[in-house]
């Protein structure tokens, strides 16, 4: 009897602890949604902010999309994300295949070199890349945004490991049947490694959607802003510092796609991050 009471008490404490942090995590989200549906006048009149609103309105969303070219930022981000992710797959899949499956002179040496590149922080190379892209006259262009981030040594490594787990016999069987290397890659390896490829795509999409530093360096023309830069622009210059509800509407709008993606692919995302992700 005593034992079970103690257990009950400790369980309650654990749930309270977990619940408190859940509130701490969710509250900013709640606040941004709440603020985004408060009427502009009503919001500014609240010295003590209210925790709910009796008259939710969508006019802030209209204001957000008309006050700054938010739709344009969205489109840019979608193009940037899709193109970067797509191009990256085209680059890393053949590379991972070459490392995992093909045998050629110098392979192991190049692989060791690639691995050592994993230690190099992007902050170190961004300076020259900035100069390179400027020299190529690619500032304020999609190519300039995309090109420096279409290769990731880490994802090559992750995919190579995954390709490596596919038994040799499958390759031998395919060889005996006269399958070309390219066909083997497309018909056998990619389908088998699909879970990992999807993981990489999801991680890359998250990374692209939230990228801020490089786009900020390389674009100063708002026609090429991504959502992150758009938010920052909004905060510093856009629609007046006072229109916080509209600002929150924009914040909600750019946060929602990834949250939806996450809720749909919850397990894939979490599994992918725990296998291959880092912070941000």
């Amino acid at each position: 009897m005593k034992y079970s009471i103690r257990k009950y008490v400790s369980k309650t404490f654990i749930y309270i602890f977990l619940g408190l942090w859940a509130v701490a995590v969710l509250f900013p989200f709640y606040w941004m949604v709440l603020t985004s549906v408060k009427e502009y006048g009503a919001y500014n009149a609240e010295y003590v902010p209210k925790f709910f609103t009796a008259a939710p309105t969508l006019e802030n969303y209209a204001a957000a999309f008309s006050g700054v070219p938010l739709a344009r930022y969205f489109l840019n981000t979608v193009i940037f994300t899709a193109a970067t992710t797509g191009l990256m797959m085209l680059v890393i899949i053949p590379a991972a295949f070459a490392f995992a499956r093909l045998e050629f002179k110098g392979r192991d040496a190049v692989f060791a070199l690639f691995l050592s590149l994993m230690m190099i922080p992007t902050e170190l190379v961004v300076i020259t890349n900035f100069v390179t892209i400027t020299d190529w006259n690619m500032r304020n262009s999609y190519l300039g945004l995309i090109l420096p981030s279409v290769t990731s040594v880490f994802y090559i490594y992750l995919l190579k490991e995954n390709f490596g787990m596919i038994p040799d016999e499958l390759y031998k069987a395919a060889k005996v049947d006269g399958t070309s290397d390219l066909k083997y890659l497309c018909r056998i390896m990619i389908p088998i490694a699909m879970p990992t490829i999807v993981t990489i795509i999801i991680l890359k999409v998250i990374e692209c959607w939230n990228s801020y530093v490089w786009p900020r360096l390389i674009t100063d023309d708002s026609r090429y802003f991504l959502v992150s830069n758009g938010i920052q622009e909004l905060r510093e210059n856009g629609m007046g510092r006072e229109n916080i509800p509209a600002m929150m509407a924009a914040v909600v709008a750019i946060s929602v796609p990834l949250i939806i993606l996450f809720l749909i692919f919850r397990n894939k995302v979490m599994e992918g991050v725990s296998r291959g992700g880092t912070k941000g």
Binding site: P167, E169, V176, D177, T179, R187
Partner: protein, 366 residues
């Protein structure tokens, strides 16, 4: 299609780069496999069996020597032009494809005029599936099949392009004991029906003996003996072959030939006339022992193990190289388990002598 290997040799560079030299995986292989036979390639793991198979299939390039299919020299041909079917221990099925897609995959690689229509491929798939008794399973995914069924899919995939030679690399090792028996009968049946020359690699001598027309025993890249299974069992050319074939394993004793007799310890167990005096290994098959109170061979009694029809007597002798002697005798001649000693006489045709130095077979006992 007969298969001829002529001085086939494969050397690998040493994995450990500090050590000089090369590893010889297959050393001057020469033999001829008659058309339509099932050959068991037998040896302990790492003896070069699989390399031999890879050389025949063309997955690996020979360092020396040649491979002929019929009169056709295929040594330099890539695997897809040799017309071989290959089946692996772990089946190597493509997990994301259905059984039918797996089976017709080799056909999808054909180019130009050899290319078949979808219907033709489907027809061939159905035919081949029926040959290996996979009817009705064509829509399944490999992971929905049992091990035995998966292996039959692999065989069907190897057979669909009607290969000249079928190569099976440890095809039964991943199956449990009951399925292994079943599947090996199945392989035998399919081979008989199709008449395709088949080479079957295994480390399990039981398997090789039971279904092969002929076995090749290998050790460290070198052929030890070729022959019909029973012949090799009855007449091993060296100690290795004698030890490798037969379960329970053959009993090996330190022995000597003296004055025309074979001596194990202080017992003169058999006549060995015409053999010069020398140190030998005497190897006795478990079924070569006959319980005989007057028998010449004295052993210390350890225990009896009843195995149904037969009984296994476990006994000890100082000259025995292993731990204990295992002999198999009919149930009716079982001695008293509590006795301190058991005496045997030996069947001469189950006793082999090998030179203690070279381990080659010497003379004969009577």
């Amino acid at each position: 299609m007969k298969v001829v290997l002529d001085g086939l040799t494969k050397r690998f560079p040493n994995r450990n780069k500090k050590e000089a030299g090369e590893v010889v995986a297959v050393d001057h292989f020469t033999f001829e496999i008659p058309d339509g036979k099932l050959i068991g390639l037998l040896g302990p793991s790492g003896c070069g069996k699989s390399t031999t198979l890879n050389l025949i299939s063309g997955l690996e390039e020979a360092t020396e020597g040649r491979v002929f299919f019929g009169d056709h020299d295929v040594t330099k041909l890539p695997p897809e032009e040799r017309g071989v079917g290959l089946v692996f221990q772990n089946y190597a099925l493509y997990p994301h494809m259905t059984v039918e897609e797996n089976i017709i995959f080799p056909l999808t690689n054909l180019k130009g005029s050899a290319r078949l229509s979808r219907e033709e491929m489907h027809k061939r798939a159905v035919q081949t599936a029926s040959l290996v008794q996979l009817d009705g399973l064509l829509e399944r995914k490999p992971k929905e099949l049992s091990g035995g069924q998966q292996q039959r899919v692999a065989i069907a995939r190897a057979l669909i392009k009607t290969p000249e030679v079928l190569l099976l690399d440890e095809p039964l090792s991943n199956l449990d004991a009951r399925l292994r028996l079943q599947t090996r009968e199945e392989i035998r049946r399919i081979q008989r029906e199709t008449g395709i020359t088949t080479i079957f690699v295994t480390h399990d001598q039981d398997e090789a003996m039971s279904i092969s027309d002929m076995i090749i025993v290998m050790k460290a890249g070198v052929i030890q003996q070729i022959g019909k299974p029973q012949e090799v069992y009855d007449n091993p050319v060296n100690l290795f072959v004698a030890q490798f074939l037969g379960t329970p394993a053959i009993n090996v004793f330190n022995a000597k030939v003296k004055d025309g007799g074979l001596w194990i310890g202080n017992d003169r167990v058999l006549d060995a006339e015409g053999v010069p005096d020398m140190e030998v290994y005497a190897a006795i098959r478990p079924e070569g022992f006959v319980v005989d109170p007057e028998g010449p061979m004295h052993c210390g009694m350890d225990r009896l193990e009843v195995m149904g029809r037969d009984t296994s007597i476990v006994s000890v002798n100082d000259a025995m190289t292993g731990k204990s002697i295992r002999s198999i005798v009919p149930a009716e001649s079982v001695p008293d388990a509590d006795a301190a000693e058991v005496r045997f006489s030996l069947k001469p045709n189950k006793v082999f002598m090998f030179d203690a130095k070279t381990e080659e077979r010497v003379g004969a006992v009577r």
